[in-house]
């Protein structure tokens, strides 16, 4: 809330369509290719999607001063080699059953499901 965030008043931004800002979206990941995972075959991993736009404070619950300053630079025409990006900032774990050299194992895999998104 310290930072000056230019308000881009744009009809596009206000629509809830494909232009909706950085947020969590459902995404199913197929685990067939990970041959050591027995159960489940797929799961809902989610993804963070959408542009990072001003004003962040009213749209995105998680962002840093660093992000705001980068976006300010960009808005003033300074080119950034890497623009701020909508990414998971919090994950949850998932219990899976897998096969190992010792047999069957029930395991908690960390950071499997995206739970919250932010602009970084």
């Amino acid at each position: 809330a310290h930072w000056q965030e230019k308000r881009k008043v744009s009809r596009q931004n206000r629509s809830a369509g494909p232009q909706a800002c950085c947020r969590l979206q459902e995404l199913t990941v197929d685990l067939h290719y990970e041959k050591f995972i027995i159960v489940p075959k797929r799961y809902i991993a989610n993804n963070c999607e959408g542009p990072c736009r001003f004003p962040l404070s009213t749209r995105i619950p998680d962002y840093s001063s660093h992000t705001v300053l980068l976006m300010g630079m960009q808005e003033r025409g300074a080119p950034l080699r890497r623009s701020p990006c909508c990414v998971p900032v919090k994950y949850s774990d998932k219990e899976i059953i897998r096969i190992t050299t010792e047999g069957i194992q029930v395991t908690m895999f960390p950071n499997m499901v995206a739970e919250e998104c932010g602009c970084r």
Binding site: I38, V39, P40, K41, R42, I44, I97, I99, T107
Partner: protein, 104 residues
Amino acid sequence: LSWNRSCVFYEHPHNLQGSMRHRGHVLGGTESSTILCNSSQCCFGIWNQSHGRLQAVMQGCWGSDRDGCDSPACKTSPIHTMGAILQRCLCHSDLCNANVSWLG
């Protein structure tokens, strides 16, 4: 019984690390048990397929309804891994994981 899903509960005594016991309340004896699920309405089963025969490896409650637990019956799909064929299913009716309804 109640609103909780009931599944067959079994865990092979060898070559198994960890347990799925915490996903419900286990009732019943030493040979074959029933578990009342606490996390979902979904059962799972894993069998070892060898020489045309199926041997139960693990059966119990799965932790989520959202991992592809769409079928009421246990329709397995095989996984060829580490020299074995494992048949596994998720299903969502009471005791649906007792047997394989459809071998994949």
